[in-house]
């Protein structure tokens, strides 16, 4: 007996539902919300976008956090050390009790040395691989090479660092005995190996996105594959290729573990590539590995160095975006 009114209510609701549906069909969604579900769904529909907005805001807050952290702690650092000294002194010698010198140049130079060797190594090889894969290789070779590049890109940098110290350095020292245990060449080469996948995959994307008819046109007037690639496809894809190189360089600048392990920890203003050096990233690692007390000048110096590093990579990333936007060929 108790079942009857229940069914009755259901039937009534259904009838109302049908009726309303018939009356106004166009904003079905809103109507159903209001008629059936009352406030709850309505409130949920309003609250959820707000919650999601705050989730999206986290990444903005992260950027803000990075910038503010770096700025404030760097300002504290410049309370102890003069800005002029930071930019003009050619010595980075923070661990002296009496005469600490904070000139960023040796660290920047160390980063530039590593970056230069890495790009000299990675750009030609990376472009060659990209051109081979997009212009010469068959489907099978591409199917084999793509995952291999993905694996190379996924190898943690600590592994590359180990490889640099225990394999590349000894091999180099066998070939050229004048190279020291910690040097710029070995980590430079290995950073190069690390950025090859970045350069290859982005350049290959740029090369492959040049339309087939362009390629066929060049081949049809009698160009060889190399002439097609070098005189037609490469220039057409140039913006993407340059952007890939700049992004690779940006990664090399920010690379930390390979240089911390294999490049040593001697800030050096000499142009020599065979002896120990220190980069901006490996200085931060050196200080935070040891126990530089909170509040000391050394502690704050890692933020000033981090800020400089951040500006470098930001500039490179902005350059990459500018290149790929400004010089894009539209097809």
């Amino acid at each position: 007996m108790k079942v009857m009114p229940f069914i009755g209510v259901l039937g009534l609701k259904g009838a109302i539902g049908l009726k309303t549906k018939e009356k106004e069909l166009s904003p079905v969604q809103e109507l159903l919300e209001k008629k059936y579900n009352g406030g709850f769904l309505n409130r949920r529909e309003k609250i959820i976008p707000i919650i999601l907005f705050f989730m999206a805001a986290v990444s903005v807050l992260t950027t803000l956090g990075i910038v503010l952290t770096l700025i404030f702690e760097t300002i504290t650092f410049f309370g102890d050390v003069s800005v002029v000294e930071f930019f003009t002194a050619t010595e980075w010698y923070p661990f002296s009790e009496t005469e600490a010198v904070y000139g960023i140049w040796p660290l920047v130079l160390g980063t530039l040395k590593i970056t230069l060797i890495a790009s000299l190594f990675a750009v030609p090889i990376g472009l060659a691989v990209a051109l081979y894969l997009s212009e010469y290789a068959g489907v099978r070779t591409r199917k084999i090479m793509k995952p291999i590049l993905e694996v190379l890109a996924g190898v943690p940098t600590i592994v590359y660092g180990f490889f640099a110290l225990t394999f590349v350095t000894p091999v180099l020292r066998d070939l050229f005995p004048s190279i020291e245990l910690f040097n710029a060449i070995s980590p430079g080469i290995v950073v190069g190996i690390m950025i090859i996948p970045t350069i290859v995959s982005l350049s290959e994307d740029a090369l492959s996105s040049v339309p087939e008819p362009v390629r066929h046109g060049a081949l049809a007037i009698g160009s060889t594959k190399w002439e097609t690639a070098s005189k037609v496809i490469f220039p057409a894809a140039l913006s993407g290729i340059l952007a890939s190189i700049v992004l690779g360089i940006s990664r090399a600048i920010g690379e930390t573990m390979i240089v911390s392990i294999a490049a040593g920890s001697t800030p050096s203003a000499a142009l020599d590539l065979t002896s120990s050096l220190q980069t901006m990233t490996s200085y931060i690692v050196q200080v935070t590995t040891g126990d530089a007390g909170f509040g000391t000048t050394i502690y704050y110096s890692i933020y000033a160095v981090g800020f400089t590093l951040f500006v470098f990579t930001l500039a490179m990333n902005a350059l990459a975006q500018f290149i790929s936007k400004r010089f894009r060929e539209e097809y």
């Binding site: 952290t69 060889t224 600048i253």
Partner: protein
């Protein structure tokens, strides 16, 4: 006139050999470059396996860190990494997918949205060591988490967040409009459509991207060093506020010691790390292949 043409074509025929040879040489050089990257990977793996495999044993997985190489193990590091990922996975996944859904489904196409989007892609290019500095300042000092699992986990979450957002956005964008329209047509609300149509459809794409991001978090070392995670730990954490060590930290510690034995231990640790990463990547590839056919 005919003569001139014949001379030209003869010249062309003479030149074609040179041009074809050039093409062949270049092709050969490019092939060597490609082979070189392959060989690099093989040498890298071979060196590490040859050096580390003899040190892999049940004891190696079961023992804590030790000053004596023959007794050292990676138990604390493996458990520590698992603890850290227990923080990273939910945090990064929830915030990553939430941000992606907001940007793809709710956000108006205005300057603010474009700005958020640009900010995310820039964040992906910030070096991991700088994220470490952020974690050190905010989580370790300001929030007072110390060098705990929580501090390291949150720092790593922020580091991988941009990758997860971008991957999830692509997955959400790939949901066919017809499906969404059908859902609205049945009277579903926007959130009902998102939670019951869009997300289930996008899950394989989101999972693939997220797993790759998480494998990056497992291998990252620099932020952990900057946050101040210790390397010599002989206990297991019992909660997220405990101090811990992680696999890459342990490997870094062994690598930076001068003795050969510790280098071998580092190689053994790297094998464990790589096996974990390969397993995660295989799962990602499997998901991608399984659902790609749709």
């Amino acid at each position: 006139m005919e003569n001139v043409d014949r001379i030209k074509s003869e010249e062309m025929i003479n030149r074609i050999d040179g041009r074809l040879t050039k093409n062949k040489i270049v092709k050969g050089l490019f092939f060597i470059a490609t082979l070189f990257t392959l060989i690099m990977l093989v040498v890298l793996l071979y060196r590490i396996i040859a050096q580390g495999a003899p040190y892999l044993s049940w004891d190696f997985l079961q023992n804590f860190a030790s000053r004596r190489p023959e007794q050292a193990g990676i138990k604390a590091a493996v458990i520590g990494t698992i603890w850290m990922m227990a923080v990273v996975v939910p945090t990064a996944a929830i915030f990553g997918v939430g941000s992606a859904i907001y940007l793809e489904e709710y956000a108006k196409k205005n300057t603010l949205t474009r700005w958020i989007q640009m900010n995310i892609s820039n964040l992906a290019g910030v070096p991991s060591v700088v994220f470490g500095l952020l974690g050190l300042t905010i989580f370790v000092r300001l929030f007072g988490f110390g060098n705990s699992i929580l501090a390291a986990g949150f720092t790593m979450s922020l580091l991988v967040l941009p990758v997860i957002i971008v991957a999830s956005q692509e997955a959400v964008r790939a949901v066919p409009n017809e499906l969404k329209e059908a859902s609205y047509g049945l009277g579903a609300t926007k959130w009902q459509t998102i939670s019951r149509v869009v997300i289930p459809y996008a899950i394989p794409g989101i999972a693939t991207g997220s797993i790759l991001a998480f494998s990056r978090a497992i291998g990252e070392t620099a932020p952990l060093i900057v946050v101040g995670i210790p390397t010599f730990v002989a206990f297991l954490p019992s909660g997220v506020f405990d101090s811990f060590t992680a696999l890459p930290m342990q490997i870094y510690n062994w690598t930076s010691r001068p003795q050969e034995e510790f280098h071998n231990l580092a190689a053994a640790g790297i094998i464990v790390l790589l096996v974990v990463l390969i397993m995660m990547n295989s799962v990602a590839v499997w998901i991608r292949n399984r659902y790609q056919s749709r």
